[in-house]
Symmetry: C2
Subunit: 553 residues, 2 copies
Amino acid sequence: MTSRRNVLFIMCDQLRFDYLSCAGHRRLKTPNIDRLASRGVRFTNAYVQSTVCGPSRMSAYTGRYVRSHGSTHNGVPLRVGEPTLGDHLREVGVRCALIGKTHMTADEEGMERLGIARDSIIGVRIAECGFEPFERHDGLHPSTSYDPDPAYDTYLREHGFGAANPWEHWANSGEGENGENFNGWLLVHADKPARIPEEHSETPYMTRRAMRFIEEAEAKGEAWCAHLSYIKPHWPYIVPAPYHAVYGKADIQPPVRSEAERLLPNPIFEAFQQERYSKNFSRDEVRETVIPCYMGLIKQIDDQLGHLFDFMEKRGLFENTLVVFTSDHGDYLGDHWLGEKYLFHDVAVKVPMIVYDPRPEADGTRGTTSDALVEMIDLAPTFLDYFGGKAKPHLLEGRSLLPLTSGERTSLRNFAVSEYDYSGDAARLKLAMPVSDCKLYMITDGRFKLVHGESLEPMFFDLRNDPGELRDLGREPSAASDIERLRKMLMRWLALPNNRITVPDEWLTEIDDKIGHFDPIIGSGVLIGYWDEAELAKQQEARRRWLARRDRK
Amino acid sequence: MTSRRNVLFIMCDQLRFDYLSCAGHRRLKTPNIDRLASRGVRFTNAYVQSTVCGPSRMSAYTGRYVRSHGSTHNGVPLRVGEPTLGDHLREVGVRCALIGKTHMTADEEGMERLGIARDSIIGVRIAECGFEPFERHDGLHPSTSYDPDPAYDTYLREHGFGAANPWEHWANSGEGENGENFNGWLLVHADKPARIPEEHSETPYMTRRAMRFIEEAEAKGEAWCAHLSYIKPHWPYIVPAPYHAVYGKADIQPPVRSEAERLLPNPIFEAFQQERYSKNFSRDEVRETVIPCYMGLIKQIDDQLGHLFDFMEKRGLFENTLVVFTSDHGDYLGDHWLGEKYLFHDVAVKVPMIVYDPRPEADGTRGTTSDALVEMIDLAPTFLDYFGGKAKPHLLEGRSLLPLTSGERTSLRNFAVSEYDYSGDAARLKLAMPVSDCKLYMITDGRFKLVHGESLEPMFFDLRNDPGELRDLGREPSAASDIERLRKMLMRWLALPNNRITVPDEWLTEIDDKIGHFDPIIGSGVLIGYWDEAELAKQQEARRRWLARRDRK
């Protein structure tokens, strides 16, 4: 094991926590991800901080809750100056690079106000959420609002897939039996193969780009953190052959839903049930067409990770590289009569989280699972900890997972929190809510789960007795005391944000010992509330004695 | 009235709301401030957002609560990129200048991380909390941690008051009868005159600097906002002749306190009662020595404002200048067995707030008082409104006061909030609290006041039946339902922060009309959850119809 350390931070997009064979999926086989789990710890209660790409990712990349970083919706720029994982890692000499998706929007207005040039090194980092953009690829390039320059398009053209928009025309469209080009955005075509040989589709392409980055960093002898960020299994639900045909409708699991969920549901739940995507995913035909494709996309990722892990193995990188496999949120896929994500049932708010910690200290936990409550914001402090950086609890709201991988601790916190702001959804208009009041909070202590929103009844689930979350107890008198308990927990969390980001706690505590002996501020000459010379002299004498004692030590 | 508009934003430091003759002080005479009140609206329930200089001022200068701007203690740098009053006013072509104190600490680390040079124009503004520093003067220059370069010191030296530290040696020391130099930091010397002729002391000096700024801006034909920010009546409690002898112990008002307040007080209240400054200010001798000086300092400010207002009158500036007179927090002065500020009794958390609005629309409210709940953060949006800028409710958490000065409305909000973080006080050690848990919140609906802190019993006052706040009802069963009501109000406030600062609400609402007719996102080519071509075609047709209807209009 060299003294140099690295981090490989793999994120999928919209991958449910339960769509891996190691997580109990009965038909999907993910042997490579399972292999990683067998060498690390698989967290079974990993919560994202928001149930939508951008906000969840901004939490991952800052180590801070959405209420702190303020990027509340997809497309809301992350404010300039919000410190990122990349900033913290650069401080300890680590190159922190992006290969794939971030869903970051740059705060152009803030940059202009601060006079930061977009094309300066610092400007590029700020615009890319703190990462060095080895390759940025958000994987959403509809022709109508087309970004003409993704490197992936150039790659496709170079390989013979020319088109005004090769991403859409080839990689994300479906091929008919007679060569038709079917619109890959439409769910009905999810059973068709993508119009491209597998090796040229996004997942293998991005995997090779990650290898390229690693080779380059290793050649330079750099410590690195590589964020390999796949767009898949996120829609467009379309996968190249042979993966379009690996799974069929016999392989999909039955939907988790009950008729009771449609009977007087909580108004926010009802509003999302009424969305087109929810109505469609509530139909068997849709599930049976899309889910096999979704599984194929995961299978493809697993195969690609097999190549990547072999590549790392050959180079001895498993000896000094901490590897994380996770996702930015889940996908309802028709469970609870919903499609997409946004709300807080486990299938949306929980993600896979596998942490392979190469240190010998972690040998005792290899292949285990942990049901500790962990949060996506734990990754940034985990990486900083792994690289030997000083903890920044005033800033990073998550906690290092290393005490869990080393077996030193079995839990980190009493509750996990997630947020979603529905002011950008039709639900705001349906519920006639002002924009300001659309913030939803989920809090769980592992046993119960509360969803709190302004002017809304609570949603409340007993996760032990109702793991499928089919019975909302929000109106049950018998649940009132538990609801109140979780509401108090939420209030505590709301009342204690980490907003003092410019100075650490030590800035306050370094004078603690002095305070017991004298008024420490007199050292600065600021004398508050002293009556006369005699009173001041006593404090000055106490100070002299304390300083002399300290100097003797 | 010219079409150009200006704002004169006068702030005192540590001036209680009730130490003005217009506010009912029985002996102190402040005819010039009263004159301003007679031409404007005097707000009797104006709350600061924190009871200590720095955090309160950062709220004033950003229009945001402390939980939002994060400068929780004196000396905690305001994070780079936090948008300020100066930023908003510059956008509408207004020069926003500082003359006096801000208590700002620059976020040097943040500036370095973003590559912003400290000596660039933008760098200077960021370091000065968004202001152009026409003259920065924080008025706290103890010799031991001496800033050798305040312009005021140069001024003193030029006028014959040479010393290593002329601010301390002359302007803030007391003159004995036999020429002795008494330490002005000590309360016992508050009855002595400062060692300097009145015209050279800080208040008249700063007043002249404000006139100088106004002359300069007027000569250039600029619209301006001048923040005239006096250090006084803040300590060192020392005032030049004749003001040291204008008031005597017969002029001071009896302390507002009761023996009951010392009998099993709330632990946080008890901890602050035990501070040296509190014990000293609980002694009659101290109050009788210091308060006449405090009153003299206010009297001096009033006289100087007389000169300033005459100066403005001569130039016709009352025709187009909105004038605010306020303070950053109060001073216990022995009330409630406390000295200094920090806690939330009205004498600490309420401030004078007089708003002179020159517009004819405000003629109907001249000379009136308003008991509406207003907050210090209302000033920034008031100024922006006055200059015709677009409201920024996603960013500015206060509200313009102009609907109150124009008589259009009589109230703005149902509650006011203030915050104080006691992790920098001995109270944290006394109560054995972790740094993270030391945030205190005050919320009042005008009738009741709740103080909430983690792991603390509530403090609770009935402001109508106990205006002196002598009976803490926090443990009274009869108050339980009102306590709960205010706690819910606080939870609502905590749950709905304005954290999405990079885009306005319109970013979300501009598609509201579309949403009623079609899926607006299809315009971008991103197609979420459509089953097939037919379903998509319907939406596209609905979109075409909507666009055609819009174009016909």
